[in-house]
Symmetry: C2
Subunit: 276 residues, 2 copies
Amino acid sequence: MNIAVIGLGIIGGSYCKTIKKHTNHHVIGVNRSAEVAERALSDGAVDEIGTAESLGKADLIILCMYPGACIDYISANGKYIKKGAIVTDSSGIKRAICPQLEELSREFGFVFIGSHPMAGKEKNGYEVSDDSLFDGASFIITPCGAPPERVEQLSDFALSIGFGTVKITTPEEHDRMIAFTSQLPHVLACSYVLSPSCPNHDGFSAGSYRDVSRVANINSKLWSELFLENREPLIEELDILIKNITNIIDSIKNNDKAALEELLEQGHLVKQRLGE
Amino acid sequence: MNIAVIGLGIIGGSYCKTIKKHTNHHVIGVNRSAEVAERALSDGAVDEIGTAESLGKADLIILCMYPGACIDYISANGKYIKKGAIVTDSSGIKRAICPQLEELSREFGFVFIGSHPMAGKEKNGYEVSDDSLFDGASFIITPCGAPPERVEQLSDFALSIGFGTVKITTPEEHDRMIAFTSQLPHVLACSYVLSPSCPNHDGFSAGSYRDVSRVANINSKLWSELFLENREPLIEELDILIKNITNIIDSIKNNDKAALEELLEQGHLVKQRLGE
């Protein structure tokens, strides 16, 4: 296949490197900054540097940009895409972009299938991309009306480059679950490190500080967009979280050891049942 | 030295194994359950199984029990301790036990120095103890009036068995910082996994879920005691956290992208300044 990867940040860069590592596909890298694209070429992460016009030879196009930018890009350049090519994204939200991309796919005659590689780092940019970022990770697919055989094709591709599992779901279910599994930890991390105690943690901290604070080193522009485009499920999860924390605070304020133990024990049991 | 380790759970067991790995000290293991003590003996983690009477030959006694149990144990068995021996604990709280242990040290003629090894796991018990748990970790000392040369002796001992740094502080400062670095992440983890979404996370989750939820597999009895004995600093940190989360929620509810970006950017900057 000819595969075009649009946007060579951490996700796009990792796609290129991973595809080159596992397959013989021809990779076309498209990026706003020529410098990063040149670097990817000299790294062997891409076989050629492309432009929007290069889309015409791609069998698979992977959009690795901010959610809103995916729509803008395809609106402007959809005319170059080969009929029947698969276009997928890599966005952390789905309801806010899948319907528009599905509409564009009908307009331009390509096949849109939403996807979201469940992997990342607390840093951004091509320089932290790597060819093992997706190893064993979950690859979430939102078919959005694409023919089953094309969905299977994308699923097989994901497994062929090292993803561990494929999860097929709807944009609604995706967004509801991602609010919990990914967005909530990012809100928490930022809220946590804003304590006046944080700058003095050195010498007093170990694994639990490191883990909760890790993703606070956030790309504030990207995550603001992700949070606002997923407002309802995220607010719902945040309200549940505030309620659960408040229950624990109340039991501590009331010096109610039985209630506190019961709340902590519930957390313990959830993890134990999940075998984690 | 003859070193007595009282309580062979994850911390006590790890002390024994670590001491045997790095030094030639003679280790006496004291444990309520004979079965675990026998296991430690056959593992070579301890050189002998002791009883309270064995305390008389120990130059260093490390208490690895629940905070309240440390006081009960020394009240009952302080009479066996050799004059001038160092007694230290390993508790995650200091104000609630250091004054009492200091008083007992004067009564029985030993030297009490509070300490807290900043390491742990999300599981408990001797079976998860290991000889590298403390590698590179911080060893916090609260001198509690002990002579400087004895504090130095304990500090040197910690470094000799692989701790990376020693932090000398007061019980007050310790408890205030631990509320943030350790207790808050445990409250968060338990509150987080109580979302109804949690049991369905599989396939939708990656590193940020794993990290925030890790310590939810909590020892509810131990941590209830730790939280309640450190109520004021913990409630203060929890109130700050709730306020920070609420600020983010409000900006999302108001669809205020500038405010949201600013809040997330603050988190990013804290981590960036810390070089993490």
